[in-house]
């Protein structure tokens, strides 16, 4: 079960205005099955590139990525792609405006032969239950849905192909706090119930602290610290981690002893 997802000395370069920019400079990371790894860092640190490399959207210059010991190469099969899914940041741009929810979800299920034509409706209803949306939303176009509902649809789209790994790239950053809480709870629930392995990319340390078992701090294309969540927050080792923790705004002022219980 060890090392379900493994990054080995991963380098990624981009060509920017004729010059080569080294975005990832030798990333090595292991994620065990069922673990939720938080990746934090500021914009430009390479965290989104790391996700893109895992999903096969960019080609590494050097190093490799393994899923359950199998190398994910340059050209991935449809079946390989199915195992790793992503939830994107922008709930507007991540849904095709001209497709209904039903058409997007059933296209994926039918393509991967996860369900026959006869079982389609039941499967669609099940996935909508899973992400807590009414079945009526199946026939809606994204423009009709709120930000939180769209993000639930984006999660449903990722889940519908029954992946092993879920990558969430700033998946709650664009949402209002009250909606954010719902989505975080949903992601947590999915990890616990389905045994999904999750890589949760965020600049929001408070959210990462609630959701993740382990945190990798990225800075300038390197992982500068990679330890269990509470250890990182209680006793940061790297200077950059300390700076990041210091800058993330204090929440101690908030007194929650009076939270009503339902």
């Amino acid at each position: 079960m060890k090392d379900f997802v493994r990054f080995e000395n991963l380098h990624v370069d981009y060509l920017r205005k004729g010059a080569v920019a080294h975005v990832l400079k030798g990333i090595s990371l292991d994620v065990t099955r069922g673990q939720c790894l938080g990746v934090v860092g500021e914009s430009g640190c390479g965290k989104t590139t790391l996700a893109s490399a895992l999903l096969g959207l960019v080609i590494p210059a050097q190093g490799r990525i393994l899923l359950e010991g199998e190398e994910l190469g340059r050209h991935r099969s449809s079946a390989q792609r199915r195992r790793i899914q992503m939830v994107f940041q922008d709930p507007v741009a991540s849904l095709n405006p001209r497709r209904t929810v039903r058409s997007v979800l059933s296209e994926l299920m039918i393509h991967h032969k996860l369900v026959g034509r006869s079982g389609l409706d039941a499967a669609l209803k099940q996935i909508m239950d899973r992400v807590r949306l009414p079945a009526a939303a199946l026939d809606a176009y994204p423009a009709r849905l709120s930000g939180g509902q769209r993000q639930r649809i984006a999660i449903a789209r990722a889940l519908v192909v029954q992946p092993d790994v879920l990558v969430a790239d700033e998946a709650v950053s664009a949402l209002d706090v009250s909606v954010q809480a719902h989505i975080i709870n949903l992601l947590r629930e999915l990890c616990d119930d389905l045994g999904l392995t999750m890589i949760f990319i965020s600049h929001n340390l408070a959210v990462v602290r609630v959701l993740c078992d382990r945190v990798a701090v990225m800075h300038g294309g390197h992982v500068v610290e990679d330890r269990p969540t509470e250890a990182i927050f209680a006793d940061p080792q790297h200077d950059y981690t300390r700076a990041l923790l210091k800058a993330s705004l204090p929440m101690g002022i908030l007194n929650l002893s009076q939270t009503p219980t339902r």
Partner: protein, 328 residues
């Protein structure tokens, strides 16, 4: 601090609606005051009407939104008065936007951007340039004299936001309107911009109206905080008091949604349901359908903002329950 306050901005019953006539009201009636040397934080979720209310001050409402009633008073040489919004821009009042890239003219060098406001007031070119350098230095732009000829796209997000603040300051405003100025920035940059705004507030005695959805930013910068829900002000009070002991269930619910440090919690509190759409509200308290404290009374008559402590107002019949909850 409570004594001798000079109000810079007074919103008196501001009403914003969709289209003309008395159709769906987005903001039914808003009363707000911003004093000199004070930062008022206006918090709410998307669709709460907080940004529209801010834009209404400068007359920057989109075409689909109509201002149907109410007055916006601003301090001028002759005291508080209503002004033509167009005459205010670049004159005693400035605005800082969320997205520094799309709000800076990409075809102007940063020196010219900052000097533009000064030149428009008739300042000589050389003098305006010198002033631009000193403004950029004031907002913490490193080595401004060397970088006056840089283009906006060459700057990082944080530096762009500093340029925007320098532009805002160039017209010597008494009041600064901020529309989520830190939302698009990284945490460390965000911290720097908040420190800068705080310093400007102290040094220049600026009044700041700071609109955001982020309570943690509010806790850092605002002296007073006003919470908006579905176009209505539901609670207003000193920030520390409001966040530590909220007296409106919506404020409490918003705070509970935030991940708490060090509690080891695995589930976050969340508010069930969704805010009502504009014009969808039947009667009673606007938050009642989602409120855990709601009683029969809440469904029949809409509560009005009432003082419950010095400078602390809430629009809730059941606010005493929240206080008792605190002492429990």
């Amino acid at each position: 601090m409570m004594a001798a306050q000079t109000p810079l901005l007074v919103m008196d019953g501001l009403s914003l609606g969709l289209g003309s006539g008395n159709r769906a009201m987005i903001v039914p009636s808003l009363n707000l005051t911003v004093n000199a040397g004070e930062c008022l934080g206006l918090v709410g979720e998307s669709g709460s009407g907080k940004s529209l209310s801010l834009r209404a001050i400068l007359g920057l409402l989109p075409n689909s939104i109509h201002r149907s009633a109410g007055r916006i008073l601003l301090r001028g040489p002759t005291g508080l008065a209503e002004h033509d919004p167009a005459s205010l821009r670049g004159n005693g009042i400035s605005m800082v936007f969320q997205e520094p890239m799309s709000s800076l003219n990409p075809s102007m060098r940063i020196g010219d951007l900052v000097a533009a406001g000064l030149r428009a007031k008739g300042m000589a070119r050389g003098k305006a340039r010198t002033k631009a350098i000193s403004l950029l230095r004031e907002v913490g732009f490193p080595a401004p004299e060397k970088r006056l000829d840089d283009w906006p796209h060459q700057l990082s997000g944080g530096l762009r936001q500093r340029v925007m603040i320098a532009m805002a300051l160039s017209v010597e405003p008494a009041l600064l309107l901020c529309d989520e100025p830190t939302t698009a920035l990284d945490v460390t940059t965000q911290e720097q911009i908040l420190l800068l705004l705080e310093r400007l507030k102290k040094d220049r005695g600026l009044g700041i109206l700071f609109v955001t959805h982020d309570l943690s930013v509010i806790s850092r910068i605002a002296d007073r905080t006003a919470v908006m829900y579905a176009g209505r002000l539901v609670e207003e009070g000193p920030t520390a008091e409001l966040l530590a002991a909220p007296r409106h269930p919506y404020t409490l619910a918003l705070l509970s949604c935030l991940p708490q440090a060090g509690t080891g919690q695995r589930r976050l509190q969340a508010i069930d349901g969704t805010p009502p759409a504009a014009g969808e509200h039947g009667g009673g308290c606007i938050f009642a359908p989602r409120c855990t404290f709601a009683a029969h009374q809440c469904l029949t008559a809409e509560p009005v903002l009432a003082d419950i402590a010095p400078a602390h107002r809430t629009a809730c019949y059941r606010h005493v329950l929240l206080r008792e909850g605190l002492s429990r």
